[in-house]
């Protein structure tokens, strides 16, 4: 029996990772690399008037100090999007390598390059920066006001972009007599990815070109951005991506690769390194967009949504990065998940003086799911329906088709997932049981769904390349640009390649994990939950090419037609009888060392993917709320996903667990806070930023509905991001069920619960604070 797709095989990198052998960028550091430390602005908005570098330059070990007055005047974009040949669709170029115009507390204004870390840090502390301070704004809607400080030129009202969706006639529809109005404002926080390995990179010049080794998700895109930022041809740049310790979207952006590359060119091509601290990672990398939602739903007494108005105010922070894409994705989901004939949806992405928001697992959907599902819970309550029943009745129907993406809900995935979750949780019985809780500790149960899709088609290019070579031992080496970032992509690729070529086992495939843009076939990287789906097309296509070449050679050896042959479990066999003619090792050796016709059998191809796929699911949560202590204990949580056929069920489960953990933090504890008076981040460390720990989690349960995706050669679709989307609203819903208190803000911390419970009369303080 072959061991290919559909099996829970061990990760191809498991042994090395568990034993500490895996090499990350720091493990590959050349001896003698100089340390770069960055001077981050200590104001939220203003201009650098001068930087006094004398004291820093006098420190023993300091090699060079470079400031915002030294960098080339080349604004560049940072978003890890595929390049677009349409200038109107290219990312906003609004950053310099170091910035004179400081736009957030933590902006990069200067660097110190030194022989060692201590000298570099001392150098940074010794820099004297003089600023011209300007008023700043942190709140997204305040930034839109006429007298708000302007953060970038040419963006009146600080609005990076506004888009809308209009469907039917909202104004006319809400005139229908007897409609019930359910209106709410929903607030989501600024959070950070908190991948284990902070971003870092090193750069050096080699034969007149610049090489950057980086902890990134997107080596090929980084090559383009470094080229742009340095004003050099893209082919002058080589990016190497070793194993990385997670990214979750933060590393789907050019972080410090351009600055690091440029610094190397300023010290005669010597190797220089930038290693972000955790504190820098929180502030000076990327964060998730805080989005504020305003939703007005109009429904009939039977619950039917007649009209909806949705407004999204997305806090972009100081630089455009991925910009409006996140808000647009969030906005688009409202028009689909609960279909409604009359809709008026508007989304604004707005610059503020906060850290720049970029891509983060879920790309707008954890925000949208929280707001939409909270509002849907209120809709259900308004008509006296069970919130799960409400969803079963009104969520996207089977065969729903979206003309823009071409996506179809082939299998009634939402209801299948909700049913499965309902059974697993024993929802109805538990809900009835919890309804009896009346004391100070009450239990509750809730559910929430999410809308998702796979990859970025048709908004952006979807392409995947792949190279396969037949090795002399009959194994196959495979390379692609869709990166392993901890999610297990290499293992899935090995399983899919074994299947596509006809090998006995995924162990007969060696996936080259490290990408090098000089060598690796061009790919876009790891993002948008795209790798398995998109690379699947390239593996399928290249696998067929490799098979053709193998069979053509075998036919030549056997003196028959290739049509008569097949590759099964690593052997060339007769199609008709199944008789084994030779194994692939014999074929490869013969082909390589044939004195008459030697051939190194390889195949390479690029797939342009012009399809997308819905990936839906839900979360069920059970909580215990200690009302006087304002504390929520998550007792049970189950995610259910229809992400197509599972390539590796155990890895799929692990992927869901990680997303659920992220969703639990999003729902209960995580939030980056800023000082209103200065704009300074208050809790940019792992003590004060309450990333949830294993002690805050119950067992994480992942369930699947496996409907093979018709558009994918392997029946697969997105699973990277979806698990993070619905835990927060499910927890919210369970708290609502337990206490009757509907919270419109996430994270639902004890501070939030204290105010809400007080307002609801659930707690009383005899003595108020004086």
């Amino acid at each position: 029996m072959s061991i290919t797709v559909g099996k829970s095989v061990a990760r191809v990198d498991a042994f090395d990772k568990v034993t500490g052998r895996t090499k990350y960028y720091e493990d590959r550091m050349p001896a003698g690399a100089l340390y770069i430390r960055i001077k981050h602005a200590e104001i939220a908005h203003g201009f650098v008037k001068s930087v006094d570098t004398a004291a820093a330059e006098a420190i023993d070990g300091v090699v060079k100090v470079l400031t915002c007055f030294d960098v080339p005047d080349i604004p560049f974009p940072t978003a890890g999007h595929p390049w677009s040949m349409d200038p109107g669709h290219q990312d906003v170029a609004d950053r310099h390598l170091l910035n004179r115009h400081v736009r957030y507390y933590g902006d990069d204004v200067a660097v110190v390059i030194a022989e060692n870390e201590v000298a570099a840090m001392q150098g940074v502390r010794a820099l004297k920066v003089e600023y011209e301070e300007l008023p700043f704004v942190l709140d997204v809607q305040k930034a839109m006001e006429p007298d708000a400080p302007q953060i970038h030129e040419n963006y009146p009202g600080n609005i990076l972009k506004h888009t809308d969706i209009r469907k039917g006639d909202y104004a006319a529809a809400i005139q229908e007599p007897g409609l019930i109005k359910v209106e709410g404002w929903y607030e989501t926080p600024t959070v950070q990815h908190c991948h284990i390995e902070n971003h870092g990179c090193y750069a050096y010049e080699e034969n007149g070109r610049v090489v950057v080794v980086s902890s990134t998700q997107i080596p090929h895109i980084i090559r383009r951005i470094v080229g742009q930022a340095l004003g050099r041809p893209w082919a002058d740049v080589e990016i190497i991506k070793p194993y990385i310790g997670g990214g979750f979207g933060n590393k789907q952006d050019a972080l410090y690769e351009p600055l690091c590359a440029w610094c190397s060119t300023q010290v005669n091509g010597r190797c220089v390194r930038i290693d972000c601290s955790r504190e820098e990672t929180f502030v000076s990398n990327r964060v998730r967009h805080a989005i504020r939602f305003h939703i007005v739903s109009w429904l009939r007494k039977d619950g039917q949504l007649v009209a909806r108005k949705v407004e999204c105010f997305s806090n972009q922070g100081a630089y455009a990065s991925h910009g409006h894409s996140i808000c647009a994705k969030a906005l688009g989901s409202f028009a689909q998940i609960y279909p409604c004939d009359h809709m008026e949806c508007d989304g604004w992405t707005v610059f503020t003086n906060r850290p720049a928001a970029g891509a983060m697992r879920g790309y707008g959907m954890p925000q949208a799911s929280f707001a939409d599902e909270a509002n849907i819970d209120e809709c259900a309550a308004a008509v006296g329906m069970d919130p799960l029943e409400y969803r079963m009745k009104f969520i996207m129907p089977k065969d729903y088709h979206d003309a823009f993406s071409g996506n179809t809900n082939y299998f009634d995935s939402f209801r299948a997932c909700l049913e499965k979750g309902r059974d697993a949780m024993d929802y109805d019985r538990r809900k009835a049981e919890f309804a009896k809780d009346t004391g100070s500790v009450r239990r509750g149960i809730g559910a929430a769904s999410f809308w998702y899709n796979t990859g970025v088609y048709p908004i952006s290019l979807e392409t995947a390349s792949n190279r396969m070579q037949l090795n002399l031992d009959g194994t196959v080496t495979m390379q692609c640009g869709e990166t392993e970032i901890g999610q297990g992509a290499d293992t899935a690729y090995a399983q899919m390649t074994a299947k596509a070529v006809g090998l006995k086992s995924y162990k007969d495939v060696h996936v080259v994990s490290c990408q090098d843009t000089d060598i690796t076939p061009t790919g876009l990287g790891a993002y948008a939950s795209r790798q398995t789906y998109m690379e699947g097309f390239a593996i399928d296509q290249t696998g067929r090419l490799l098979r053709q070449k193998i069979l053509a050679y075998a036919a030549e050896m056997l003196g028959c037609s290739a049509e008569e042959l097949d590759i099964v479990e690593g052997n060339v066999v007769r199609k008709d009888s199944g008789a084994v003619e030779m194994d692939l090792s014999h074929l490869a050796m013969t082909a390589q060392y044939n004195p008459v016709h030697s051939e190194h059998i390889t195949a390479e191809s690029t797939a342009t993917i012009r399809s997308n796929a819905y990936s839906f699911g839900c979360t069920f949560a059970e909580v215990e709320v200690d009302i006087p202590m304002c504390k929520v204990t998550l007792k049970r949580i189950v995610n259910v996903h229809d992400c197509g056929s599972l390539i590796n069920p155990a890895l799929a489960e692990a992927q869901v667990h990680g997303g659920m953990s992220m969703g639990i933090g999003y729902g209960l504890s995580e939030q980056l806070l800023f000082d209103e008076k200065t704009g300074k981040p208050l809790n940019n460390n792992l003590l004060d930023y309450k990333l949830s720990t294993v002690m805050d989690h119950p067992d994480l349960e992942a369930l699947f509905v496996e409907n093979a995706e018709p558009t994918s050669p392997f029946g697969t679709k997105a699973l990277g991001e979806p698990p993070a989307c619905s835990p927060a609203p499910a927890i919210r819903s369970a708290i609502y069920n337990a206490t009757g208190v509907s919270i419109d803000t996430t994270p639902i911390t004890p501070h939030v619960l204290y105010r809400a419970f007080k307002e609801a009369g659930l707690i009383h303080d005899e003595k108020e604070g004086d």
Binding site: N116, E117, V118, M121, Q122, R125, P628, M629, C630, S669, L673, D675, L682, N683, L686, L687, D688, K690, S692, T693, V694, M695, D696, T749, P750, H751, Y754, I763, D765, E766, K767, E768, G769
Partner: protein, 295 residues
């Protein structure tokens, strides 16, 4: 890589005292779980350090002839939690320090470091205050002992005299303080591990022989003021009272007379007060139950 000017290592208390007198500006370092973090932040960058971590004489828990419990200042949190004397006489202290950070921090962090930091949120501090601990300091003039409430001067500052070459050598719990006492600590934090207390509440009681009356109740809080503090009004109110749930309620309400938490971005004052009352009630009830009382 740490920005450190010099490191002096003391092998004995005498050496430590001599090193302190020789290098008055130097910072004492024990486990390093606070000092190294501060150095990395730049707050103590370029510091000279005197490490006392190698002085094994300052490790371990023992009982002195007069029944005083002696906890060497370098005893780690995990050792305190697992120590049989602690478990027998002041189990609540072991439980409290078992809630510091995570396992690695509890293995390296010491009770001496926890108290010498002078921070109000230290998980050991409220319990040590509630049990009238005595701090032992050793310097060029010999040994000085002072009640823990006098040891804490203000936030981040304790009474330890560098000019006398002093280091903290032990934390003592007098017999009168622990005998027949039972206590409970509630760490209120925003997550269940790797956190500092938003509020720490430590209550202990001694009941009458028939378990009906409170002979003595003590309560101390961390993060209810700039330093850990006792709620004397509540303690006086409960003394001699009949054990009841109603007493627990009154005791809890009375703590507001003495505590003064502040508003900060970490937590609002009214929220901290609310949690203090609720925690005091729960810790009182739990302490009474541990003492064999019924309510």
């Amino acid at each position: 890589m740490y920005d450190m000017k010099a490191l002096y290592q003391a092998a004995s208390v005498e050496e430590a005292v001599a090193l302190r007198l020789e290098h008055p500006a130097a910072q004492i370092i024990a486990g390093g779980s606070d000092v190294l973090v501060q150095m990395r932040e730049g707050k103590r960058a370029g510091a000279e350090l005197i490490s006392i971590y190698g002085i094994d004489a300052l490790r371990g828990v023992s009982m002195e002839p007069d029944g005083t419990l002696r906890i060497g200042s370098l005893t780690s949190f995990s050792h305190i939690t697992r120590d049989p004397l602690i478990q027998k006489y002041i189990n609540v202290l072991g439980e409290a320090v078992d809630q510091v950070g995570g396992p690695q921090i509890r293995n390296i962090g010491t009770i001496g470091g926890n108290t010498c930091n002078g921070v109000t949120s230290a998980d050991s501090a409220s319990t040590l205050h509630a049990w009238d601990a005595v701090i032992e300091l050793t310097g060029k003039n010999g040994v000085r002992r002072l009640p823990i409430r006098d040891f804490y001067i203000k936030a981040g500052e304790v009474d330890i005299r560098a000019e006398d070459g002093e280091i903290q050598t032990a934390v003592l719990i007098p017999k009168e303080s622990y005998e027949d006492c039972f206590g409970h600590y509630i760490k209120y934090a925003m997550r269940n591990a790797m956190d500092i207390a938003t509020l720490g509440t430590s209550v202990n009681v001694r009941l009458s022989a028939d378990k009906k009356t409170v002979e003595r109740a003590r309560v101390a809080f961390g993060v209810a003021g700039p330093v850990p503090l006792r709620a004397a009004t509540a303690e006086a109110m409960a003394k001699g009272q009949i054990v009841s749930l109603e007493l627990a309620e009154r005791f809890a309400q009375a703590v507001t007379a003495d505590i003064n938490p502040r508003d900060s971005w970490r937590a609002a004052k009214d929220f901290r007060l609310h949690i203090a009352v609720e925690s005091a009630k729960r810790a009182f009830i739990e302490s009474v139950k541990l003492a064999g009382g019924e309510l």
